[in-house]
Symmetry: C2
Subunit: 68 residues, 2 copies
């Protein structure tokens, strides 16, 4: 298990948090996603390292931007 | 057909708009709901006048506040 933290821009409410959690949670190997609305911090627990490209794609699918 | 406009406080994103639209749209007799995110204006088209109590209940069910 490994954890990685990314920052997401544009989330404004609990629905946004839910949308990001859902999309990031669909990345293969991801077992947990914790999103902090105020800071935009998204902490991902996964079996192997997640790729930034996969996280970026999931965040954009949810309608937000990954800060890189 | 009649239309009435109410103001809702607390919506921050498109998900909020969708939640309010869905709940208000469930009020019997309502045929259309238009929500403007920036102003919080919710315009309801219905067969008969909608009751403010029904609108208030629907808005609160969605998680927001009706400005009265």
């Amino acid at each position: 298990m490994t954890t990685a933290t990314f920052t997401v821009q544009g989330m404004t409410c609990g629905h946004c948090v839910a949308a990001v959690t859902e999309e990031v949670g669909r990345i293969p190997g991801v077992s947990d996603v914790q999103v902090e609305l105020d800071s935009g911090a998204v902490t991902i627990t996964s079996a192997d390292d997640v790729s930034t490209d996969d996280v970026k794609a999931a965040v954009e699918e949810a309608g937000y931007e990954l800060v890189t």
